[in-house]
């Protein structure tokens, strides 16, 4: 592994120190697969893509530590050789995605309700803060409550609190087998079905509804899948892996539409909203909606349902993309940003203006 280790900490640090002294913003860039995400990037690029390498991988410890620019495909391949996986199955989108970007964006694949998000697998980070200081939070062990959990605070912060240098992640044994049951149901019926299944010990690893069909992925062998099919119904899918990968990476035909794409994070049993073409994922907890509704309408709708909404693709990138925060929460966010990045150089305005 050592010959593939490229440590660019010093170069990155110099760029940050310079930017902080000039007060000029930096756009943190890994593989560029999620450049569409968040508010419009500002400033000179800070390229992380060359900062690569698997620093430590101990299959029997269930932990991997990697430099943030390492491509997801490379990590997943190394894990697969030892029959292990990244539990949160991060999206690759159009390719080139890095582990740093995956953690910074906090997005997770279709198994998220059962296997967690990046924040759940994240054990530790080494970061450069907005002053160019190197710091380490968390570690490489499963349980660690020494100090505040600043490692997990970095997950989903879109790089606004620090540049991830390396991340330590919990990995899991790969599930032996997957089988998918497909059945024709409308959205309301599908939600009722998923809600009912959710309270039973079914080995679910995916539950999504799109184009009038409910897809249920089961992590179990063929014999058990047959058992569950007798109880649940539906037909066994022939393109099990393709569907879930397409859902994860937004390459299913559903995602080929023109209107702005919204992500709704809701209590899973929330009834369907008739606001645009919708794909229901995560057993109801994540919904993808193409709609021309205004951001204000979408945020109000999400609040009314007890969740939040994100303008994921399309629409105005100068305006708000993420659910506005109540005043005391917004003030707290501003104060935390100041703690980590007093000159406001790291991904300025990418999350909130």
């Amino acid at each position: 592994m050592a010959e593939h280790d490229h440590d660019h900490t010093e170069t990155l640090k110099e760029q940050i120190v310079r930017a902080a002294s000039e007060g000029s913003p930096l756009e943190i860039r890994g593989g560029g697969s999620k450049q569409f995400y968040g508010r419009a990037p500002l400033g000179d690029p800070l390229e992380i893509g060359d900062h690569t390498g698997i620093i430590q991988y101990e299959p029997t410890e269930l932990v991997v530590t990697v430099r943030s620019g390492t491509p997801l495909t490379q990590i997943e391949q190394v894990l697969a050789e030892r029959r292990q996986i990244l539990p949160f199955d991060p999206p690759h989108f159009q390719g080139g995605a890095t582990i740093g970007g995956a953690v910074a964006c906090g997005l997770a694949g279709p198994a998220r309700p059962w296997s967690g998000a990046p924040r759940d697998a994240l054990l530790g980070v080494r970061i450069l803060d907005g002053r160019g200081r190197t710091m380490r939070f968390g570690g490489e062990v499963m349980k660690n409550v020494a100090g505040y959990d600043i490692a997990r605070l970095m997950a989903g912060a879109l790089g606004t609190l620090g540049v991830l240098l390396d991340v330590s992640l919990k990995v899991l044994p790969a599930p032996g087998d997957h089988h998918t049951l497909v059945m024709d149901l409308d959205a309301r019926q599908a939600l009722e079905h998923m809600t009912a299944l959710n309270t039973q010990p079914v080995p679910l690893a995916g539950a999504a509804h799109v184009d009038g069909q409910l897809h249920l992925r089961l992590a179990c062998d063929a014999a058990l899948a047959a058992h569950w099919r007798r109880r649940i119904g539906g037909e066994l899918s022939t393109d099990d892996a393709g569907f879930w990968r397409g859902l994860r990476d937004h390459t299913l035909p559903f995602f080929d539409q023109d209107a702005p794409l919204w992500r709704l994070s809701l209590p899973p049993a929330s009834p369907p909203q008739n606001i645009g073409k919708t794909l229901i994922d995560w057993g109801g907890a994540q919904r993808w909606v193409f709609t021309e509704e205004t951001p204000e309408q979408m945020w109000a709708l999400a609040t009314a349902s007890g969740g939040h909404a994100t303008l994921f693709r399309g629409g105005n990138r100068q305006g708000g993309r993420f659910q506005p925060l109540p005043r005391p929460m917004a003030a707290l966010h501003t104060r935390l940003k100041k703690v980590f990045d007093p000159e406001n150089v790291l991904n300025r305005g990418r999350l909130y203006p």
Binding site: T60, R119, A146, Y148, D149, G156, P201, G306, H308
Partner: protein, 495 residues
């Protein structure tokens, strides 16, 4: 004017404060007489005791907000307390402050079966959630050993674990939403009704923050379907090294146990004498391995686990014949702390986490220290996730033994850091491990912790003096600690 004595000053200060709080609290929510305060002088770590100025027992969110606002404007320290079962002195009162006891917030507000979650007040006991969810076939996964008594507010504050963490996670993995009251009396909602919330992951930041950032006034926790079947296997080993290797072998074999626990000979004998779990008392160490899921799956996993354990050199393998025997296997483990309490006048429980592969070496070092300090040490280990609980046996009535036990414990924690681990896996830093934080974290990280706290609590009034040491304290501790330029454990390879 004559000088009043410090104690009479204290009495006057106490009376003045009680009067001020009685403006907005009912009389039964304020305890101010010394005999009423004594039950609150310590938490689950009785080596540290201190009387607060007052104990406050509010019953409404508005009362808590008013208390915090008053404390913030008057600069009065506030220490929150739930059930008081914490093991790191995190709820040790502040002598010039109030102890905010949340035990009256003891209602389960909602069991939402469709969304598979429970909304509870902070004083609800951990086990009570699973009991209330059981009729729906659901349960709350984190199960600290104190789950009969400990409350969910404290679980959030400490990021409590338990014996099923490897598969089902810690408190932080099983929370959906927390309502937090800041020192300024603001009510914040962290997390969301779905699986995530907008903005920074403050839910994760607050989980395990030891009451330093705000007061948890409500929590929404995930509920999971109760597994169709659970089965346990007990394996005996003639050395702790083989037992440790067996754990690695199980994991490499693709088994993800629901629980995986190790006990050394001293711990397992104490447990056996106490609850008669049927442990083989001549073993150097035992492993308890539980698998759960669908019946067929459990059978398959169990036979695989048996094979792997046999390959690893287990001298005896016993599969629980029925659920009663499985419960007995666990009863011994869950009673390990009180069991050790029966064989020694006092014990001191440590909580380091280490990379599992360093276990044999760490246990060897602990044995050497045990010899050096002349104090026995029993080891209980959450083997799946590397969380080690050495229990140091001592007698507080023997002059100097408590200090020796503390020094022994401190050295164990420093050893954990030296091998790439951490000083606390699930009990928190609290009062007791504050000096060892100086060993684990450099100044920049400690400064960041203080700055994060200041972002929530600018006057530093929430649980002051706990969890994160001042830089001055660390400078002093580290100066005392490095002897002739040499760190402790020079022979240990460091990370």
């Amino acid at each position: 004017m004559p000088h009043s004595s410090p104690s009479s000053q204290r009495v006057a200060r106490r009376a003045g404060l009680a009067r001020a709080f009685s403006e907005f609290l009912p009389p039964d929510a304020i305890l101010s007489r010394e005999e009423e305060l004594h039950p609150y002088e310590c938490d689950g770590l009785p080596a540290y005791r201190r009387l607060p100025l007052l104990v406050l027992l509010p019953t409404t969110v508005e009362e808590v907000q008013a208390i915090l606002r008053h404390c913030n404007t008057q600069h009065i320290p506030v220490v929150a307390r739930g059930a008081g079962t914490g093991l790191s002195g995190g709820a040790l009162p502040h002598e010039d402050g109030v102890l905010l006891v949340l035990s009256r917030f003891n209602r389960i507000l909602d069991i939402d079966v469709a969304n598979r979650c429970a909304r509870v007040q902070p004083g609800v006991r951990n086990l009570a959630i699973s009991e209330a969810a059981a009729p729906h076939g659901l349960y709350y996964a984190p199960d600290p050993s104190s789950q009969i008594a400990c409350s969910i507010g404290g679980n959030v504050a400490e990021n409590a674990g338990g014996v099923h963490c490897l598969k089902y996670g810690l408190t932080v993995h099983n929370l959906l939403q927390v309502r937090l009251i800041t020192i300024e009396g603001e009510l914040l909602t962290l997390g969301g009704g779905g699986l995530d919330g907008p903005g920074y992951d403050l839910l994760a930041l607050v989980t395990g923050s030891e009451g330093m950032l705000g007061i948890v006034i409500e929590a929404t926790v995930k509920l999971l379907p109760i597994a169709e079947q659970a089965q346990a296997v007990l394996a005996a080993f003639d050395s702790v090294e083989t037992a440790a290797d067996a754990v690695a072998h199980l994991i490499a074999g693709g088994i993800l146990p629901a629980g995986l626990e190790m006990m050394d000979n001293l711990a397992l004998r104490a447990a056996e004498d106490f609850v008669h779990a049927g442990y083989p008392t001549d073993a150097a160490a035992i492993l308890l391995c539980e698998v759960d899921g669908h019946a067929d799956e459990v059978t398959a996993q169990l036979s695989r686990a048996e094979r792997l354990l046999k390959e690893s050199g287990a001298t005896e393998i016993r599969v629980a014949r029925d659920d009663a025997e499985r419960q007995r296997f666990w009863a011994g483990r869950k009673a390990a702390f009180p069991a050790v309490g029966r064989i020694s006048p006092d014990y001191y429980c440590m909580d380091g986490t280490i990379p599992r592969k360093r276990l044999a070496e760490v246990l060897h070092e602990i044995a050497v220290m045990s010899e050096r300090f002349g104090l026995r040490c029993a080891n209980v280990f959450h083997a799946g996730d590397g969380n080690l609980h050495p229990l140091i046996l001592y007698d507080a009535n023997v002059p100097g033994e408590l200090e020796k036990a503390e020094q022994f414990g401190g050295e164990i924690l420093e050893l954990c850091v030296a091998v790439g681990g951490t000083i606390t896996g699930e009990h928190g830093v609290g009062t007791e491990k504050i000096d060892q934080m100086c060993v684990q974290f450099p100044d920049a990280e400690l400064e960041t912790f203080h700055a994060v706290k200041a972002a929530f609590d600018p006057n530093g009034l929430l649980n002051p003096g706990k969890a994160v040491p001042t830089l001055a304290r660390c400078a002093e501790f580290n100066a005392m600690h490095v002897h002739q330029g040499e760190l402790p454990f020079p022979e240990i390879e460091r990370f």
